[in-house]
């Protein structure tokens, strides 16, 4: 092992967060000290993970670290393992980046709150929990970290205790989240009962040939549990409350990172532990849940009147894309799903941060009460546009690149299986994408464009320390969309290979040949080949765009002599045209928009908004029903 030193990095990255969480508490009310500690912790973790990119992603190492050096004895893993393959590192990087940017944003953002003492403690606990889940190689460890993460998230959701919505959201989150946690715990217990080990690698080596009804039930439990953590379809309403009520930088974590742990869990459970993704019934189930999440949440989002609630519903809608893509069980599908996962973290993070900037500047995120802020906060508006274009899949931003891969994956799957259903999944994806665009046009029109409300005449642009993380995220949105080839080569390709190559994962932990010995694994799979049904070259597009833009600029400069002047003053001539009336405040926003659409779908939309009653009991019933349905489905089709 030439990478001996790197073995210790993953555990250090996790411990950094937890240590930081407690040291920050010691800093008490000294803000600068607190910020320095938190910042240092986040940067250290990020750099530790970045340094792992070369060994893990490029050279294909799998880093295994046994806590307390308790290595497996006679093929039984007793100790707790930290096992970092490309998939774990992929999610770990995503977490570290989002945490660092959201953390730096928070330094200034939370100064408006009076009781901001415990913020960073909880924030770093949450980060550490998430990091622990994605890097861990131990099923029970994952459960523990899941609980740490959940409770930190609940605490942060209720962070603004003066806000009754926040308290209510935290309560709902606690109740419905417990269903998920319970499911995971139950599943873990059943798996332990069967396999007598908690090590992921060993379980994946032992389980696939030994599926009995208990294990099917365990699978259903684990799947539902992680699904609950990713807020997939019937669990989505709590996400809306929690994301909406939490401080924006926390929303970034909950939406961009927390939900990804659910996705990560589903990948680990379905592709590694039980290896059920080969079954077409499982694929259908995941794709179906993905499509439902995607479409239901996007239509709910169109109906929202609060910026952050709207974003929250979109989170689940994007998670729907990811689940759909992962459910296809093809290389391009997995790559597309993972690509969308990182893109979602970036653009949704950016959007939540802009929502936070709006809240910071105006004190509200209610769409009906905002308007025209682009004049006062031009940079925030530009950043919002980047985020909005990314999430709605406008080329050349990153959302498009990943959605494009997902469309291809679904369509190719349709051709492979000959089932037209998958072609209709492509259609649902495209329609969801356009509805996403619609809801962001709604936000743009309601918050940043249109008329400026008189009471926001003195609003100022957010401070630089909040804008820098946003700009970094925007740049990342742009760059990850611009170089899909590089992304595939260095991040997605290795991660996809890791998903499909379970045997390597097992061998890395349990010693070479272990997987083959169990007789369920033939050998290592070859590197997956991504075949595309189409082509998309964003760099060329950008080059052409720039060339033509230059040409247009030159032509327009050359023709300047004959052109009319551009005038901007503040008189009757430049007032808004009101059919001759004196200009007055009149803003077409939020609920006024998309009448034709809403009118035609009023039955469906009305049913949806009645169904989302906001009552915790209802949501618990939904969750339990989902659990029951998934269990039943698994028993029938597995």
């Amino acid at each position: 092992m030439t990478y001996e030193i790197f073995k210790h990095f993953p555990v250090l990255a996790i411990m950094c967060y937890f240590l930081g969480a407690f040291i920050v508490t010691l800093a008490g009310k000294r803000r600068v000290l607190r910020n320095v500690v938190a910042g240092a912790v986040m940067l250290i973790s990020l750099s530790l993970l970045l340094s792992l990119v070369v060994p893990v992603m490029v050279n294909g190492e799998i880093i295994t670290y046994w806590m307390g050096n308790w290595e497996p004895v006679e093929g039984y893993a007793i100790g707790i393992a930290i096992e970092v393959d490309a998939l774990s590192l992929f999610f770990g990087l995503l977490v570290a980046i989002a945490v660092a940017l959201a953390g730096f944003y928070s330094f200034r953002y939370i100064t408006q709150d009076d009781a901001n003492g415990p913020f960073f403690t909880l924030f770093l606990m949450l980060s550490g929990g998430v990091m622990g889940i994605v890097l861990s190689g131990d099923l029970f460890n994952i459960y523990v970290m899941l609980e740490v993460m959940t409770f930190a998230a609940v605490g942060l959701t209720a962070f603004r205790t003066w806000n009754p919505n926040a308290r209510e959201a935290a309560f709902k989150y606690l109740v419905v989240g417990s269903i998920g946690s319970t499911c995971v715990l139950l599943g873990t217990a059943l798996v332990y009962g069967q396999c007598h080990t908690l090590n992921l690698a060993q379980i994946s080596a032992m389980l696939p040939g030994n599926m009995n009804p208990t294990m099917i039930f365990a699978f259903a439990m684990l799947f539902t549990g992680f699904g609950c953590k990713s807020f997939m379809f019937p669990f989505h309403p709590i996400a809306a409350d929690a994301h909406g009520a939490a401080p924006s930088s926390v929303s970034v974590l909950i939406s961009g990172v927390f939900t990804k742990t659910g996705v990560y869990g589903i990948i680990r459970v379905s592709y590694f532990l039980f290896r059920t993704m080969g079954l077409s019934s499982m694929q259908t189930m995941l794709v179906f849940i993905g499509c439902l999440s995607m479409f239901v949440c996007v239509t709910m989002a169109l109906n929202q009147h609060d910026f952050k609630r709207l974003l929250a519903f979109h989170s689940i809608s994007q998670i729907g894309y990811i689940l759909t893509a992962l459910g296809l069980c093809s290389a391009i599908g997995i790559a597309g799903g993972l690509y969308h996962a990182i893109n979602h973290t970036l653009f949704k993070g950016l959007l939540f941060l802009t929502a936070g900037a709006v809240l910071y500047a105006t004190g509200t995120t209610y769409l009906d009460k905002l308007g025209g802020l682009a004049r006062k906060m031009p940079q925030t508006a530009a950043l919002f546009l980047v985020g909005a274009f990314s999430i709605s899949g406008i080329p050349p931003f990153n959302g498009f690149a990943s959605k494009w891969m997902i469309y291809q994956a679904t369509f190719e799957k349709a051709a492979e299986t000959g089932s037209i259903g998958y072609a209709l999944v492509t259609v649902v994806c495209v329609v969801t994408s356009v509805l996403t665009l619609a809801s962001f046009i709604k936000v743009g029109q309601s918050v940043f464009f249109g008329q400026l409300r008189p009471e926001y005449e003195n609003v100022k642009e957010t401070p630089l320390s909040m804008r820098i993380p946003m700009w970094i995220m925007a740049a990342l949105c742009f760059l990850t969309g611009l170089f899909p080839d590089l992304m595939i080569k260095y991040l997605l390709g290795p991660a996809t290979a890791a998903v499909l190559n379970t045997a390597r994962y097992i061998d890395a932990a349990m010693g070479a040949g272990y997987a083959e010995a169990t007789a369920y694994f033939d050998s290592y799979l070859a590197e997956p080949v991504l075949t595309f049904a189409g082509t998309w070259d964003p760099v060329s597009w950008l080059v052409l765009f720039v060339i033509i833009m230059c040409a247009v600029t030159l032509v327009s400069l050359a023709g300047k002599s004959g052109r009319g002047a551009v005038t901007l003053t503040d008189d009757a001539k430049h007032a808004t045209f009101f059919g001759g009336e004196e200009a007055q405040y009149s803003h077409v926003a939020s609920g006024d928009l998309f009448w034709g659409f809403k009118h035609n779908l009023r039955g469906y939309l009305g049913f949806m908004s009645r169904a989302h009653s906001g009552v915790t009991n209802d949501y618990v019933v939904w969750g339990v029903c989902a659990m029951a349905v998934i269990t039943a489905y698994c028993f029938i089709f597995m």
Partner: protein, 316 residues
């Protein structure tokens, strides 16, 4: 040399200059023929060109409550992205920049100009524009569903057992096996596409978003001078792009062996498609209401496209 040819492609044919000229020609011929269908003399074919240059000479008023940068930049972004899109569509088998963008990318690229109008209008802070923005977006939602169904049908048909999104392969397949318009399974899709074109371009009877008599041209209400000229030009180029897309998707099989003749034929097809789906519809229909547009596209047009998809999928 290679580089020079690329530059010619980008700036002259089928890039900036050609798409401008041909777009304005299509817009002119459209207006002329609509007038003739209504037994009028109609404006000269060069009228859109005159309009364009006249607007360049007008003062550009930036409303005092507008978000200035978005307001002024949006038209140019829309125009340029349209011209870039033109480079990706094969015209008579000639594709300036093949292998860079497929059908789905084009589907997304052609929404950028619509977005430019929407965000530009949105930035002008006019309530008329607000209504226009809402309506334009509803029309986008309306046509996107049938359009993707049409593209999937074509993609399946051209895949030959598998599927493809690639424009080159669609063209190649048609050159080998005949145009898709002659394939009975794809006739409903072609019809749906003919109805999608006027909606995407914002022509009668689907121009609810820019209805001049109801909402003062919606998002364009505050635009004047050069930015308005650019929007009008984008509108014209969009006609070219959408008809060229139709020609490439359904009539890509026409090949005489001579590239220039193929291109001329493709341009004639573009004009013919304009006349059929925009001019004729304009002459015989009144503007629909926005909810009618949405309903029409999600039921009738999507239904047509879906029938095609099913036929392509299950009938050999």
């Amino acid at each position: 040399m290679e580089f020079l040819i690329k530059i010619v492609y980008i700036l002259i044919f089928p890039g900036l200059l050609f798409s401008t000229v041909f777009g304005l020609w299509l817009a002119g011929i459209d207006r002329k023929v609509v007038a003739r269908m209504q037994k009028r003399v109609g404006p000269p074919v060069l009228q859109p060109t005159y309009d364009f240059f006249k607007l360049l000479g007008k003062e550009t008023i930036v409303p005092s409550s507008a978000a200035r940068h978005t307001f002024l930049i949006a038209p140019y972004v829309g125009l340029v992205s349209l011209v870039v899109t033109a480079l990706f569509i094969p015209i008579g088998g000639l594709q300036a920049f093949g292998g860079m963008a497929d059908m789905v990318v084009i589907l997304y690229l052609i929404t950028i100009p619509s977005l430019a109008i929407i965000f530009g209008g949105s930035a002008s802070a006019s309530p008329f524009a607000g209504v226009g923005v809402s309506r334009s977006m509803v029309t986008i939602m309306a046509y996107e569903l049938p359009l993707i169904l049409v593209l999937l049908s074509v993609g399946r048909a051209a895949g030959g057992g598998l599927v493809t999104f690639s424009m080159e392969q669609v063209t190649l397949y048609q050159q080998l096996f005949g145009s898709f318009l002659l394939d009975w399974r794809l006739i409903p899709a072609a019809l749906a596409m003919l109805l999608v074109i006027p909606c995407e371009v914002g022509a009668h009877p689907f121009d609810v978003g820019e209805a001049e008599t109801e909402i003062c041209e919606g998002p364009l209400v505050e635009y004047s001078g050069a930015p308005l000229a650019v929007f009008k030009l984008s509108h014209a180029i969009k006609m070219f792009i959408m008809t060229a897309l139709f020609a490439a998707l359904f009539l890509g099989g026409i090949s005489t062996g001579m590239v220039w003749l193929d291109v001329v034929i493709a341009l004639v097809i573009c004009t013919a498609v304009t006349l059929v789906c925009m001019t004729l519809l304009h002459a015989i229909t009144a503007r629909l209401k926005v909810e009618q547009v949405f309903k029409f596209f999600w039921t009738v047009v999507s239904g047509l496209a879906l029938v095609s998809l099913l036929l392509v999928w299950f009938v050999d």
